[in-house]
Amino acid sequence: MFFLLRTLPGDLASLKLGVDANPEALMQVRQEFGLDQSLVAQYIEWFSDAARGDLGVSMLTGADISQEILNKATVTLPLIGLASVLAILFAVPLGMYSALNFRNRRGIGVSAASQLGIAIPTFWVGVILITIFAVKFQILPSGGFPDEGWSSWANCLESLILPSTTLALGQGAILMRFARSATIDVIQQDFFRTARSTGLSRGQAIRIHGIRNAIVPVISVLGVQIATLIVGAIIVESVFSLPGIGQMLLQDVGIRDYTKVQGTVAATTAAVFFVSFLIDAIIALINPKARTSQ
């Protein structure tokens, strides 16, 4: 990453000074930024600081990078969180519905719709939602995030409805397929038949034995998908002009603010590890098998 970033044409000094800069001025600014040192030296310096949790300051503005990331996370984290919850909320029931009806038209229809959900690009879903809810009916904002932040939490939630729905539709479509196959799996299992034979109706059997079994693969897939969710968030933030981590990252790559891009990527990677760990823990809570197998 570190070296890839530096193979991009152009550097911060030339972007700061503009196109008229003379070589001497550029050299001077590069020295200020430490860009004149060897790549290895730059890497060692950055890595030793980052390992101690010090991501440093932005090369261009001098702002503290950890602070900026935390700041932007107040947009991105709720976005991803809300999207995940929405995705599960619509994937599990629909997946189960489609599984229970997997031989008839309705089940196939839902299943086909999920295929469509996977195929449609995220940004396009976003544009459609904006056109309907923001431009046509003007009931939700087309983008942006309140300047006051979460102190006006209702406005914040309002501005996250369309973006998180956009993100959730794509994710949910994938999750739904897992929920569906897991449920089909469950209703063909012996224990399910046994449950039915004890006198439980199909619906009762599903509620008691089915949901738990169907949700485990969904959540573990969500854990794997978390990186995709972050990539999706970058797109969604751009479509809805949300001032989150994704948009900041795009801008920083544009201005070649190396230290800030490195810091953001490092922090995001750490977050992905953490979330995967968290999801393993959640699965252990839901699924006793995962606990006893250890």
């Binding site: 972007l15 503009g18 196109v19 008229d20 800069a21 702002a63 923001a134 003007q138 942006g144 070649r256």
Partner: protein, 506 residues
């Protein structure tokens, strides 16, 4: 030598979007003090400043929000192009044009301290200091003719110039001429100016809020708050005005959307002028484009009127040379090399390319360039030139094309006022080297009268057109969309500022 080009990158190098409106067409005085309101006006822009350092970091987004709003110069330029007093009550130039004397007005910085002549001297010594990188090279260059800046008393400042400089006063109105409080630091995150607005909250990635300066010495701003909202994505920006989230959309990046705006009863489309010439840059040092006949053939093969219709919804203006119609030395030269495929084919034959050739068109991610690329490729195909279109990112464009001139053709809009001098620099990416043109530009910059300057530049523009150093596709119109209830925003674009003091709503 300066340059500015229009693009759509989040960086705002010296590249920018459409151009930048300056002072509004509106007469502030006629509105009277009673028009002062408590409203908040939100304006949508695409490029956000990467820093607030108006003198040290390139990029047009910085002066767009700060110049004339937060920071002020001794003089400022109005929409008509007229230069009027700002921090200087009045000014006088000596008859030889070498001494300018400014009488300062009584003003206060936003931190409450008094504005003094010493601040002017401090600000300009910063620009003139040859060893400092705190000020952009472009700005230093603009004031290279200044020999000294002195303050004989607390309310007078005297500039001594090394030689006559017809651009001096205009340069004072731009970012290089802003006055800081002496001893200021931390330009990147703070802005202690004298203007009608104070810098409010900068919510990075989202918006900058300006708050009315109630102790302003001049006419107070009409709105209490003005929010500059940054929305990089063109569609998202359009949606913001369509859904009523912003009051003004300062730039229309996709003219094909104009019909939607026109059909809305609550919105108005405003078209002003700019200095932005969309230029089909050709590498004059590389075969076959080093042949004047080839360049002329390319010009005659492209139907500009149809191109404007295709690329910019019919809103652009044909120019035929590198001069915007707001400059006194503008002449419509678009008829000199009119669209004529047969003539173009003939020129190619005379140049020794009867069967045409193949060429690469590097297209930066700018809307006007992307909208024009296919039309140009198809047009040149009709005279046997095979164009392969290659998209390039701005970073690469700056490095490979702008700096190293390693290219055949490219499309970029040059938006700086009075930027004809870029063709006088043989190392500029056009690699156009004509001593006659260079002499004309030099002569114009030291001309003793405005009339002489105008005559000389007219001659230069004609020469440039005859030589077809580039092709000039169209002049970008300054298209904005606003709620009908909003007025007083700058309609034309003649400098770097987007002055908001006269904007009202309701």
């Amino acid at each position: 030598m300066t340059m500015k080009i229009a693009g759509r990158n989040p960086i705002s190098i010296a590249l920018l979007l459409l151009a930048t409106p300056l002072l509004a067409n509106i007469n502030i005085a006629s509105l009277g003090a009673s028009a002062k309101t408590n409203s908040t006006v939100t304006i949508g822009f695409t490029l956000e400043p990467v820093s607030l350092d108006i003198s040290g970091v390139a990029g047009q987004a910085i002066p767009q929000v700060l110049l004339n709003n937060v920071y002020e110069g001794l003089v400022k330029v109005e929409n008509s192009g007229k230069i009027v007093p700002s921090l200087a009550k009045s000014y006088k130039a000596s008859s030889d044009g070498l001494t300018y004397t400014f009488n300062l007005t009584k003003a206060k910085f936003h931190d409450g301290s008094n504005f003094r002549a010493a601040d002017v001297v401090w600000s300009f010594n910063r620009v003139l200091d040859p060893n400092s990188t705190a000020v952009l090279p472009t700005q230093k260059q603009q004031f290279a003719t200044v020999a000294s800046v002195k303050a004989p008393n607390a309310s007078t400042v005297v500039f001594a110039l090394k030689n006559r400089d017809n651009d001096f006063l205009f340069n004072l109105t731009q970012r290089g001429g802003v006055i800081f409080k002496s001893g200021s630091t931390e330009f990147a995150t703070k802005a202690n100016g004298t203007g009608p607005f104070k810098l409010g909250k900068w919510n990075r990635g989202n918006s900058i809020t300006l708050e009315r300066n109630d102790i302003y010495y001049g006419k107070k701003a009409l709105s209490k708050k003005v929010v500059f909202r940054y929305i990089l994505d063109a569609t998202a920006l359009s949606n913001a005005i369509l859904s009523g989230q912003i009051d003004i959309m300062s730039t229309v990046q996709k003219p094909e959307l104009l019909s939607i705006f026109k059909n809305r009863k609550d919105l108005k489309v405003v078209s002003g002028t700019t200095n932005g010439e969309v230029t089909l840059g050709m590498n004059n040092s590389k075969a076959p484009l080093n042949n004047i006949k080839v360049r002329q053939a390319i010009r005659q093969a492209i139907n500009k009127k149809a191109l404007i219709k295709t690329a910019w919804a019919g809103y652009g203006l044909e120019i035929g040379s590198f001069v915007p119609p707001t400059d006194p030395w503008f002449e419509d030269l678009s008829k000199k090399y009119p669209f004529n495929v047969r003539a173009a084919k003939n020129l190619l034959k005379q140049a020794g390319y009867p069967n045409g050739f193949s060429i690469v068109l590097d297209v930066p991610p700018a809307p006007y360039a992307e909208a024009s690329q296919e039309f140009i490729a198809a047009s040149l195909k009709t005279i046997g030139i095979n164009v392969s279109i290659k998209p390039v990112a701005w970073g690469e464009w700056l490095d490979r094309i702008f700096t190293k001139a390693n290219y055949d053709m490219t499309i970029v809009a040059h938006v700086e006022r009075g930027d004809m001098s870029i063709y006088a620099n043989p190392n500029y990416y056009f690699r156009y080297n004509n001593t006659e043109y260079q002499a004309l530009i030099k002569k114009a910059s030291s001309a003793r009268t405005a009339a002489a300057q105008t005559e000389t530049l007219k001659k230069a523009a004609r020469l440039l057109s005859d030589e077809s150093a580039s092709d000039w596709l169209f002049l970008i119109p300054n298209l904005q969309v606003a709620k009908k209830s909003v007025s007083g925003f700058p309609e034309n674009s003649v400098g770097d500022a987007y002055s908001v003091a006269a904007i009202t709503k309701g």
